[in-house]
């Protein structure tokens, strides 16, 4: 699947303006660019777990979606779209529908890694022909920046606040893409906003047009929760990739493929420093926390290289 940037940008917009996400939100950047993976003329039904994206893009009576859209609840985006896809199959079988539809559902990391995990796992295991897209901003942003299992270690969140006895979140983040890959689904990929969105676009198109279940994990920075300078989102994403904090990879039919290897892996400080949620790591005496963070990034990167070398 080739990528012609200008032609891709020339496609009709499938997420209308007038939604109420914060200025500079990474979530809708992810959505717009995923939807550009749809071929013109193909219809889609979009699912959505409860979260910022849902309350902001379908605030009655204003829908920002140019396709059919269903929000059900927080923890069941996978199951809800399973039912929609089941309806599509049944209506096709009965000769009541001629058109081609694709099924894409969006959830934040809270609705995907945590409360919606069972529903997601079920939808993946049953191999429905749908794409689950997690826009991962590493916390429950809609309810006010509480930690999730996607929150990186040491992040200062409202439920893992930094204090005299606390360095932020004590645990590492869950590796959800690997967990979904272990479901043996046809396609899993991790991406973010880099390389003029080529990586994200190609993976979206593959995910949408690969028959069966597909999962995309997209790092989508949140200026409120991460506390960086809002216009710098693209730089934050680039640093996430160049430090190997957020590697770009895909798993196609069980085969792990590394999509990008930095020529010179940058130190993790470069990714953490611009973000207010990690400010405490740069206090004198906390160097050991940075070392521990770096060690964790290195361990995961080596693990990924090993998986991709097989």
């Amino acid at each position: 699947m080739s990528y012609n940037f200008k032609e891709t940008m020339n496609k009709p917009e499938r997420l209308a303006p007038g939604h109420r996400m914060c200025a500079g939100c990474g979530g809708t950047i992810a959505v717009r660019n995923v939807l550009r993976g749809l071929h013109e003329g193909d219809r889609a039904v979009i699912g959505n777990a409860t979260g910022c994206l849902e309350v902001s893009t379908f605030t009655y009576p204003y829908t920002a979606w140019e396709d059919s859209y269903i929000h059900n609840a927080f923890e069941n985006a996978g199951a809800t779209l399973s039912g929609v896809e089941g309806a599509y199959k049944a209506l096709k079988r009965k000769g009541k529908l001629d058109e081609t539809y694709k099924f894409i559902t969006f959830g934040g990391d809270g609705g995907t890694y945590d409360i919606g995990f069972q529903s997601l796992s079920g939808a993946m295991e049953r191999n429905h022909d749908l794409v689950y897209v997690c826009y991962d901003n590493g916390a429950y942003m809609n309810t006010g920046i509480q930690r999730s299992s996607a929150t990186p270690m040491y992040a200062d969140t409202t439920t893992t606040p930094v204090g005299s006895q606390s360095n932020g979140k004590p645990q590492n983040r869950k590796d959800l893409a690997a967990i979904i890959a272990a479901h043996d689904v046809p396609y899993v990929a991790q991406t973010t906003f880099v390389q003029n969105f080529k990586d994200l676009h190609v993976k979206s198109e593959k995910a949408i047009y690969t028959p069966g279940a597909a999962f995309l994990n997209i790092m989508a920075p949140c200026p409120r929760g991460w506390r960086y300078n809002t216009p710098d989102i693209m730089e934050i994403c680039r640093l996430g990739v160049e430090t190997c904090y957020w590697p770009l990879f895909e798993v196609e039919e069980g085969k792990w493929i590394l999509n990008y290897e930095p020529k010179k892996k940058l130190p993790i400080e470069d990714f953490l420093r611009p973000q207010g949620r990690f400010k405490h790591l740069f206090k004198k005496g906390n160097e050991y926390l940075l070392e521990a963070f770096q060690k964790e990034v290195d361990r995961r990167w080596d693990e990924l290289l090993f998986r991709c070398s097989r």
């Binding site: 699912g47 009655y60 859209y69 059900n72 923890e75 399973s82 929609v84 089941g86 049944a90 058109e99």
Partner: protein, 393 residues
Amino acid sequence: MAKRDRLSGNEAVAIALRQINPDVFPAFPITPSTEIPQYFASFAANGQVDTEFIPVESEHSSMSAAIGASAAGARSLTATSSCGLAYMWEELYIAASNRLPLALALVNRALSGPININCDHSDSMGARDSGWIQMYAENNQEAYDNMVQAYRISEHPDVRLPIMICQDGFITSHAVENIELLEDEEVQKFVGEYNPENYLLNPQCPMAVGPYSVTDYYMEAKRNQAEGMRHVSRVVLDVAKEYKKLSGREYGLFEEYRMDDAERAVVMIGSAAGTTKDAIDRLREQGEKVGLIKIRLYRPFPASEIAEALKNVKAVAIMDRAEGYTNHGGPLGADVMAALYRAHADALAVNYIYGLGGRDVRVKDMENVFAALKQMMADGDAGETYRYLGIRE
């Protein structure tokens, strides 16, 4: 042409579903409802239905998928019992508020804890305010007939609400009884095609479902939803009239059994009504003026009609197969007493909690209830209005 057969309640409902041939059926196993999806899965496996059967990973997901399918434009349903219903509680409200006419084959079972697999109504009573239509059956025949009529009620343009077709766990679901089935073609013709106006897979016009509603809209949205409920009784009676022409069997909002000159009455839901009818027949032989009101439609609640049916009754026992933990009785007791109060009735009324967790209800137990009503009349006082039937002290 009707066919006679011997079937369990679960088989009867599964056969009704095969005849209806719905589009999407997501399901998760739980005792005692699990036979319904099992039978249905074999129909699907043998090509007897066109349905997309989705064996999901939980009841929350079975209702979620049924909602997705219904919004997409499909006729959908699921089946469950007890904790399964409790687990999908959140989704029940969403199905109703989205005005999705899907069905739930509920086989009533006690809620945990302690865990118990037998019949009581604590599961569906917990969902009584969820915005679903609730219909109950005394026996296999009624469970079958209610299932065949379900979509005609729920999909009616004036209603557009989800419907719960309830039967008693094991007592009805697993006991084999004689039953009359309609022909497949008769059922298909009666139920008809599902053609919603707006749906997700409508190529002519996309649709958005499940908005965030600010305070300015929420209350009006609830009132709008309640309007659908206000049409249910009328539609239930219209559908029943048509069904009688097809089947010869008559249904209403509730059944009045030997109520004509009754001075004492029992109001109850479900299979124990059969036992109560036996008690009534015996007592009538002895010249006692006793009768029964067996609720078929519990939500919406036919309050004024029930008060009217009870207007000449001097003492009434309302039987709840669920605790309410209100310290003054169960949910049916509260509904019936409110109906009597509004009708300015002066009948003495008591509320019994009975049959929890599958506790047997015998003819003798119901005779004792009628005896207690007789005593109340003699005393001119209801005495303790919140009672347990057959509890060991």
